[in-house]
Amino acid sequence: MIRERFQRTYMDFEKQLEEIVHRCQDGERAAFEELFEMYQPRLKYYVRRLDSEGVNIDDTLQDIWLTVVKKIHKLKDAQIFAVWLYRIARNKVYDGFRRKDRFVRLPEEDEFPVSGGDEPVFDANDAEKLHRVLNELKPYHREVLTLSFVEQMSYKSIADVVGCSIGTVRSRIFYAKQSLREEMERQNG
């Protein structure tokens, strides 16, 4: 029942978003403002979770939205708006890194593939603690978990944002959640 309600709510959100994107593509100012209201908070959370030390978050966010406003008419499928938006965000943050000659891409480690193991589930009541511990994780773990928690993105969509295979996303999320759980337990003593 709860799952059904969630799916219905999510579908409503998707339908609403799709309509807003179409209106933006028609150049409607009010639609851009609605889109901004919907995505600015979660986008800010995501950008802050990327290893963006030294990058001006406000400037980067403005840069992202400028690109959205300028290029949204080129987006062929409104259903993939979120993936498109987070890819822009990711590229902007990394551009910031490149300009500062810090590093070219996030350091990543190979992880063993996983096959359908039980993933830890997190209670929303622990959100504050989760947020704190999330910042302790490796950047590439933090990124996929953020997309999963905040955007409830599918593995396929996360793979499209991050630019890797679905298998890599699956294993990355699996190990990321394990690390998160261990870290939370460690902090709990």
Binding site: D26, F32, E33, F36, P41, Y45, H73, A124
Partner: protein
């Protein structure tokens, strides 16, 4: 509230972010950004428009046709103000020469396409647009194909050969947009518009004036702007030595460190009177569908309805007319589109019932209202709920107190 939503909100709150929306400061900053974008688009409209708007205001037209002239004007304005260029020839002479231009024939050829875009423009004694013809090649619009657009006597006519469709409009907003484009063919106008851009000083300018007076003066302007995302980064202008008028312009795009020619604009027949027949449609076949919005009462009278009420009512009556197969009525509500055209577009679909018509919301681009609605239809044996994406309604220009659908329902 489900766990996922609660988790999302909890995480954002823990980071000091209000999950419900942006901050006031962010809203103001974003609003300013939209204002700036809006200003920059006013001189080169490129937003996709629904249906009949789209036919005329196809973004590629504005990008390619207008960009060429803007580019020329940019050079003219730069040179006009830059007195330090040591050349016998000065482009003020071209501007002066352009003052006397009454007739102009422009051909824009895109490198990747065989068919050019062609414009014939006639200006009045005070420099105002009198007549205009634009031959729009088929490659610019795969749906409509080759289209001829004529502006004359404050009316606009479009001949869409592939659809055997002649449209006559008297739409002030569309006309204003088209006129703005055409005015940009006149360097005098464009110089004024682009002086601001010139002041950025982002272009390197060179000139070659051959001794042989039969050879044109060559002016090359190259953008110095890093990461220039404008349509062209180099423009080469060929000016007739005798008349000081522009003969042609080549436009180059910088790709992978090299300049590639993407378009050539040629200017012919300066001040050669254009045959009046160019601005009329005399050879339209009798079988063509004629849609003359200027010669019939269209839409629905507002009566005592509020704007929102009449917008919803127009959509309701339009959908009901489709359910009733009353295509004449549907056409009248849809900007006066002929009944046969409506039947052709919707006759294959069985409109079953109106599910809902929601509260209309204002729509800045069309200056009207967007009316969200849902209708149950049967198409290809399947019963589905259809949500028209662009069900826009607005007041009929030139017909006070009447409201019409202006586009967005598919198939027209």
């Amino acid at each position: 509230m489900d766990n996922n939503k609660k988790l999302f909100e909890g995480l954002l709150k823990a980071d000091g972010i209000n999950p419900a929306g942006a901050t006031e400061y962010e809203r103001i900053a974003f609003g300013k950004m939209l204002d700036q974008q809006s200003k920059s688009k006013q001189s080169k409209p490129g937003i996709a428009r629904p249906d009949i708007w789209r036919i005329i205001m196809k973004s590629r037209i504005t990008k390619l046709a207008a960009a060429a002239v803007i580019a020329v004007a940019a050079i003219l304005s730069i040179t006009f103000l830059n007195k330090s260029i040591p050349a016998a020839y000065a482009l003020e002479q071209t501007i002066q020469a352009a003052h006397s231009v009454r007739y102009l024939h422009v051909r824009n050829s895109v490198e990747s396409q065989d068919e050019p875009m062609e414009f014939w423009v006639e200006f009045g004694p005070s420099g105002e647009l009198k007549n205009m013809r634009f031959n729009k090649p088929a490659w610019m619009d795969s749906e409509d194909g080759e289209t001829v657009i004529v502006w004359k006597d404050n009316k606009m006519q479009l001949w869409i050969k592939k659809k055997n469709f002649l449209v006559t409009l008297e739409d002030k907003e569309v006309a204003a947009q088209v006129l703005k484009q055409v005015e940009q063919l006149d360097p005098k106008f464009a110089v004024q518009c682009l002086q601001e851009k010139q002041q950025e000083g982002a272009i390197e300018l060179t000139m070659e004036e051959p001794v042989d007076k039969d050879e044109p003066i060559v002016v090359t302007a190259t953008s110095l702007k890093k990461d220039d995302d404008s349509p062209f980064q180099r423009i080469v202008l060929f000016v007739d030595q005798a008349t000081r008028l522009v003969n042609s312009v080549d436009l180059y795009k910088l790709e992978n460190g090299e300049y590639h020619k993407v378009m050539t604009s040629e200017y012919f027949d300066y001040n050669q009177p254009i045959d009046a027949a160019m601005f009329t449609f005399k050879d339209i076949p009798d079988s063509a569908t004629r849609w003359d919005q200027t010669a019939q009462e269209v839409g629905l009278s507002q009566g005592n309805f509020t704007n929102e009420e009449i917008a919803a009512e127009v959509v309701r009556q339009f959908l009901q007319a489709l359910i009733d197969h009353d295509y004449a009525k549907a056409g009248k509500l849809f900007s006066g589109v002929p009944a046969e055209r409506i039947e052709k577009a919707y006759g294959q679909i069985r409109f079953i019932k109106i599910i809902s018509i929601e509260k209309p919301v204002s729509h800045a681009l069309t200056g009207g209202l967007y009316v969200p609605c849902t209708v149950e239809i049967e198409e290809n044996g399947k019963i589905i709920q259809w949500h028209p994406e662009h069900s826009y309604v607005r007041q009929v220009h030139g017909q006070p107190g009447r409201w019409e659908i202006i586009g967005g329902f598919r198939g027209i």
